[in-house]
């Protein structure tokens, strides 16, 4: 665990109310939607899976996490909206994650608020067994929005952002399960966007999709980065190359290299990175 002294050093004392992010005097370069990970160690029980991760994810850009299976990239992604809280005995043993300068693991942070601002799309599309409309409206409703017109607007807006509106506008009240796999995944993206997050985490969003659906989702990711900070975990090198601005390569729980995507794919700094992206292992 992090000692109290270290905590106070990491967490800026001026920022307590994280809903209204203020410029951090200790770190004046804070920007909306930026994520800073410092010396992060993470363990499931006694099994340490992340070692000393230092990473600064820029705002309003797409950052891809690549690496062989079991290298910890999904675990790191799930740390960013504290989804790992749901797993017993999983915990950050050292270091901190700051979003807009606020340590998200500080006791003053409301995890519900955090998750509303850091949306997530999962590997396997998981619409609720509800209608398309209710799926998208879910996040708003649990946040207490009851006004029908507001919800209608938000549903249309997020379905449009997810490039799904034209396909489903005539059957909003049909079960989300009637959609194809690619549409379901875009529905999940729309659902995540409906609560207007600043950051969208995507955990291998295209792994279960065919090439055409994948192309649509990738196109969508490129559009979304205008407004959102996007972090995407992928096993697909081409995908990382196609739609990300920055790429982080992980291996055995360590961050091996983090740089511009073009640099990583054309001239990687590390031998392991080069071997992985050229397909020699992993």
């Amino acid at each position: 665990m992090v000692s109290v002294a270290e905590m106070s050093e990491i967490t800026s004392p001026t920022v307590v109310n994280q809903t209204a992010p203020m410029p951090n005097p200790a770190n004046p370069k804070v920007e909306r939607g930026m994520i800073e990970i410092e010396q992060l160690d993470f363990a499931y029980g006694t099994n340490k899976v992340l070692h000393d991760i230092n990473l600064s994810i820029p705002a309003r850009a797409v950052t891809a996490f690549i690496g062989p299976s079991g290298c910890g990239k999904t675990t790191l992604l799930r740390c960013l909206n504290r989804m790992n809280d749901l797993i017993d005995s999983a915990r950050i043993t050292q270091g901190s994650i700051r979003i807009e300068g606020v340590d998200i693991n500080a006791s003053s942070v409301d995890v519900v608020d955090l998750r509303r601002r850091v949306g997530m799309v999962f590997q396997k599309s998981n619409p609720f067994p509800k209608s398309i409309y209710d799926n998208v409206a879910y996040g708003l409703r649990i946040a207490g929005t009851t006004k029908r017109t507001l919800i209608d607007e938000a549903v249309e807006k997020s379905l449009r952002s997810a490039a799904l509106w034209d396909e489903v506008k005539d059957r909003l009240h049909v079960s989300g399960y009637g959609l194809s796999g690619g549409q379901q995944q875009r529905l999940c993206i729309a659902r995540a966007l409906a609560v207007e997050p600043e950051i969208v985490l995507m955990d291998e969003p295209c792994s279960a999709l065919d090439p055409i659906a994948t192309a649509k989702v990738e196109e969508l990711i490129r559009q979304l980065k205008e407004q959102y900070t996007i972090v995407i975990v992928t096993h697909n090198m081409q995908q990382a190359g196609r739609c990300s601005d920055h790429t982080a390569f992980f291996y055995l729980g360590r961050l091996i290299e983090f740089d511009d995507t073009t640099k990583i794919f054309s001239n990687p700094g590390q031998r392991q990175t080069e071997e992985y992206i050229t397909g020699r292992f992993g």
Binding site: V112, F128, P129, G139, R141, I142, R191, A192
Partner: protein
């Protein structure tokens, strides 16, 4: 190549060990197949036996109903019904008096004064009940006549059946030895029907006396009492107005009107009386038993569903791993308690506690408290709830646990808290699983015997629903209870015996339907989360 065996064949030649293996495989197949076959055959035999024994009921019940009409019992019951109406009016009068006494006691009027104030009313009440003296006399005379005729007819039918059986088996001489006495039914019935004239004179007498009485009815000391008394008077006038109709019914009654075959089914399915081993007439109507079973089950479910489902939600979503390890086996352990022990506990503890609670000051505001019966629907329902909770809990917990993790994660990732995730995602997603759990719990409850036999009070009557919720504090008998109680004492092959089988069949149908529904829900559940 032709004719030359390929040495590299994929199928090796049947060596000795290979053959032994085949034998073993066949033995395994025979063993398991045989077991399945035995189970299927036994079940089929049970079902066939149940139907064979049960369906004989309708023929016998029809004969029973025909005898009821042919011996004139039905005729007597018309007059008896009239006498019963009169009696109920009498009872109503005593209720009015009781209420009046209570009102005055509350005003601290001494007992002597109360009696004095009510003296004219008492005089009226006794005069009223005296008016029916001749009516009761008539009923008891006719009852004797009709039952004598019924007995003769019954004995004759028995002897006839015996003779027919002997004739069929070829024992002619022995068959002729049986003397079947002739019964002069027409004469007996004619004598019985003289009752019509007697009834008319009796009713004329009642009418005259009653109008006289009503004219000089005393006033009640209390306005509320007066109101009740006025209501009673209206009822009494209605009764008087109905007398000519009864006479008419007696005159037109005929012992030879045929009874249609479906009456034997409808009198069973919709009959409101279950009267057996009676000197007069047996009735096999399932309604009081059905209502008893249903009410007990409803009470049990109303208690067990929230308990079972809520604890399933707690264990699957909220409890720590340590609590889970403790609670789950503990609840499942309840189902290991033998039902007879539970019933015993119900009589000794729950029934007593419920009655004590109903007598306490704390519940004084409840209109139907204090209750008089310790063993009633509520007591039995509480204990059955205890038996249904493990079923509902275990299956609901399974259903909740089988909700894909993705739903839960997606909900949390959107910023839902635990309660919202449970209420808006987990429960709806596993709803059909939970419903099927509840249905299986219901199946368990409705088929349970020992607890209801011990705790439901075993009074064969439809509860008085005019009391509202108070109806659930009345004793009932149930379908399972009646079978367990009466099956041991009935004569094999008698109508009563077969009626019990029919009750069993109805029970069987209900549980089958419930299980079928539950399976349908499970199938839907699998689809919805698949």
């Amino acid at each position: 190549m032709e004719g030359v065996a390929d040495p590299r064949t994929l199928i090796p030649e049947r060596t000795k060990s290979r053959r032994a293996q085949v034998v073993i495989e066949q033995a395994i197949k025979a063993f398991f197949g045989g077991n399945a076959l035995v189970a299927v055959i036994v079940l089929a035999l049970i079902t066939i036996f149940l139907f064979r024994e049960g369906f004989g009921f309708f023929g016998q019940n029809l004969a029973n109903l025909r005898l009821y009409r042919q011996a004139g019992l039905e005729y007597v019951d018309i007059i008896r019904g009239n006498a019963a109406q009169h009696e109920s009016l009498s009872r109503k009068l005593s209720e009015i008096r009781l209420r009046e006494v209570r009102v005055m006691e509350k005003r601290n009027v001494p007992l002597e004064e109360i009696n004095a104030a009510l003296a004219p009313f008492d005089q009226f009440a006794s005069a009223f009940s005296d008016t029916a003296e001749n009516l009761h006399g008539l009923v008891s005379d006719l009852t004797d006549q009709a039952s004598a005729l019924k007995e003769q007819l019954f004995a004759r039918a028995e002897l006839l059946a015996q003779r027919n059986q002997l004739e069929r088996s070829g024992a002619q001489t022995e068959a002729e030895k049986i003397v079947v006495p002739e019964v002069d039914r027409a004469a007996a019935l004619a004598r019985l029907r003289e009752g019509s004239a007697r009834f008319e004179s009796v009713s004329a007498e009642i009418t005259a006396k009653l109008y006289n009485l009503l004219a000089q009815a005393p006033a009640m000391p209390d306005p509320a009492g007066q109101k009740h008394f006025e209501q009673w008077k209206t009822r009494a006038r209605k009764y008087l107005a109905g007398l000519p109709a009864a006479s008419e019914k007696l005159r037109t009654w005929s012992p030879d009107t045929p009874i249609p075959w479906y009456r034997s089914i409808s009198s069973f399915l919709f009959g409101r009386d279950w009267v057996t081993a009676s000197f007069w007439q047996d009735w096999y109507g399932i309604i009081p038993l059905l209502v008893g079973s249903v009410l007990v089950s409803i009470v049990a479910l109303v208690i067990a569903v929230p308990l079972g489902v809520a604890s399933a939600i707690y264990v699957s979503e909220i409890a720590s791993r340590h609590e889970k390890r403790l609670i789950k086996p503990y609840i499942e352990f309840i189902s290991a308690i033998p039902s007879v022990v539970l019933g015993f506990f119900g009589i000794a503890v729950v029934g007593q506690a419920v009655r004590a609670a109903s007598q306490s000051h704390f519940f004084k505001w409840v209109s139907f408290f204090p209750i008089s019966e310790r063993l009633n629907i509520f007591t039995a329902g509480c204990l059955l709830a205890l038996m249904a909770v493990p079923t509902i809990f275990t299956l609901s917990e399974d259903a909740l646990r089988n909700v894909p993790r993705g739903f839960k994660e997606a909900s949390y990732a959107l910023g839902a808290n635990r309660l919202q995730t449970i209420a808006r995602v987990l429960v709806p997603a596993s709803l059909s699983g939970i419903v099927s759990a509840i249905l299986l719990g219901l199946g368990r409850v409705i088929g349970e015997t020992m607890v209801v036999l011990l705790c439901a009070g075993n009074r064969i009557a439809i509860p008085d629903f005019t009391q509202g919720l108070g109806a659930i504090f009345q004793p009932v008998h149930t379908m399972t209870g009646i079978i367990a109680q009466e099956m041991g004492e009935v004569v094999r092959g008698s109508t009563h015996y077969r009626a019990l089988f029919m009750v069993g069949l109805v029970l069987f149908t209900i549980t089958l339907a419930i299980n079928y529904l539950a399976q349908k829900f499970v199938a839907r559940y699998r689809m919805s989360i698949g």
